[in-house]
Amino acid sequence: MRKGRVWKYGDDVNTDVIFPGKYTYTPMEPPEMAQHALEDLDPEFAKKVKLGDVIVAGKNFGCGSSREQAASCLKFAGIQAVIAKSFARIFFRNAINQGLPVIQCQEAVDSLGMGDEVTIDFSQGKISGKAGEFKFPRLPDSVLGIVEAGGLIEYTKQKITSRES
């Protein structure tokens, strides 16, 4: 459990503003990807984001193209979770498979504001901060495991090795 500050945005944050299309075919290392995170939505974000910060947004977060970088650039920028009213389907899957936790919680989105400090307890399914406590359906252990391992490929590798040994 780590404290983080909220970066608050509206509805329909699409993958183009999260990670611009012009970079999708340029191979990039994680630190460089992090520098372009949310570039076309909030130019301040990449400069000021700190490890453990949280993105809070409205409905349909991550709509648009299926590029996986939209999820991984946020993870590399230090974001510990994205909380939204709803997620675009492919982004939701990509995020978890890239090791970025996504939380659907309308109440928290309505109550949290830019700069608020929050703590997220994934094992309890709870977001807490000054604005109150918000429950979300806890992710099953296997899914949490994917996030903790840093993504699906790593998780699957670990799982296979542990079964073999």
């Binding site: 349909n60 997620f87 498979n97 899914v143 490929i153």
Partner: protein, 411 residues
């Protein structure tokens, strides 16, 4: 409070995440790419090879060396791994062959590395498309996580108006609700209109549920579906139905009786207009086929319009039966003869030009009318070409005039 079909089959309430093990896993020509991801995992053997169903359909027969190599890698992988459900290039499009061969079953969970895996909802399965990496991990572990979707219910009433078909209905639905309306949601098609639909019609709707962003497009399996599966089903199965008091995200009602033929205009599937607004637009190529509308029933409608007539000299007409079984049915019924006499090119079963890889690529400035499910920019060839989507009847009528044409004039 009752549960929806999706909640019942996945065993949790909408919004929750579950770890599941599917009954079957579909992949096609992308199996070579998936096997490369699989190799990264450092596992030798697929955990449950009997669950894999691999169907070569996208570029068949191979039209260039790279496709030939791709197929070769897949054949080698299949024999190394002992995958028995392998369908080489002579069977047809995966989404047709999969249910013909009895893998699409009521109450079963099917995942596939193709977005139109939603098709098997037509037989009462829960079936969804997933990514290639996910399929590779699924091959290795036989487990995957899914979020239980909320459900849209689409109630279909009335009977078809003349000259309209399931394709017109689904285009109207997508046009009205939008291409992302059912994002991450399940869709259930209900009502008397849905219950009366043939399997071929149901497949059109479930297939194109993917174009609404849906994870799944379910119909209640009825006696007609059970009869179809008689002697065909690969596993025993138990149909699953939504509870009468299930909670739906939203319910929409569509009436078949006031539908007119519909056309999806370039370059998005939800850019749908009634035929009278687009009739007269010149076209260069017509495609009758694909996993959406390449079945016997579709060819029958097209042949009905083209019988004893000739296609317009300014247009090329490509006909691709969805599978070898459908090809044979059409052949025996004389449909292929009618279509060939009219001037159509009959291609071998497969995806053909649907994905713009071979067999009828569009040049810059050309326009196609297709019975497929997608009209994204450049999908059938040049980025400077355009694709309209419509029913086989509209496609056949347009083939006669070289322009988008209302099929009701030929009935």
């Amino acid at each position: 409070m009752g549960a929806t079909f999706s909640e019942k089959i996945l065993g949790k309430k909408a919004g929750e995440v579950v770890t599941v093990s599917p009954d079957f896993i579909l992949s096609h020509d992308n199996s070579a790419a998936i096997s490369q991801e699989f190799a990264k995992l450092g596992v030798e053997k697929i955990k449950n090879p009997d669950k894999l169903v691999i169907i070569l359909d996208h570029v068949v027969p191979a039209s260039a060396e790279k496709y030939a190599l791709n197929h070769k890698l897949i054949r080698e992988f299949v024999s190394q791994q002992g995958i028995s459900n392998f369908f080489d290039i002579h069977h047809g499009i995966c989404h047709q062959v999969f249910h013909e061969a009895g893998f699409a079953l009521p109450g079963k969970l099917i995942l596939g590395a193709d977005s139109h895996t939603t098709s098997y909802g037509a037989l009462g399965a829960f079936s969804a498309g997933i990514g290639r990496t996910e399929v590779a991990c699924l091959w290795a572990t036989d487990e995957i996580w899914l979020r239980v979707p909320e459900t849209f219910r689409i109630e279909i009433q009335g009977g078809y108006a003349a000259g309209t078909f399931a394709k017109d209905l689904i285009l109207r639905i997508i046009g009205d609700l939008g291409a992302d309306c059912a994002n991450y949601l399940a869709v259930e098609f209900t009502g008397a209109g849905a219950q009366n639909m043939s399997l071929a019609e149901r497949l059109v709707l479930s297939n194109m549920a993917a174009e609404m962003g849906a994870k799944n497009g379910y119909f209640e399996p009825n006696q007609m579906v059970l009869d179809y599966l008689e002697g065909r089903a690969q596993l025993e199965f138990e149909p699953i139905f939504s509870d009468p008091d299930a909670v739906y995200e939203r319910t929409f009602t569509f009436d078949l009786s006031d539908l007119e033929p519909q056309v999806a205009c370039p370059h998005t599937v939800d850019n749908v207009k009634p035929i009278h607004e687009v009739a007269g637009i010149p076209i260069h190529q017509v495609l009758i086929g694909t996993c959406t509308n390449g079945r016997f029933e579709d060819l029958e409608v097209a042949a009905g319009i083209l019988k004893n007539r000739k296609i317009h000299p300014s247009v090329r007409v490509l006909v691709i039966p969805a599978s070898r079984q459908e090809y044979l049915r059409a052949l025996k019924a004389g449909l292929l003869e009618v279509l060939s006499e009219a001037g159509c090119v009959i291609l071998n079963p497969g995806c053909g030009p649907c994905l713009g890889a071979h067999q009828g690529i569009l040049a810059p400035g050309e326009t196609a009318l297709s019975t497929a499910n997608r009209n994204f920019r450049g999908r059938m060839g040049s980025r400077e070409s355009a694709i309209y989507l419509a029913s086989p009847a509209t496609a056949a009528a347009s083939a006669l005039t070289g322009k988008i044409m209302d099929p009701r004039e030929y009935l």
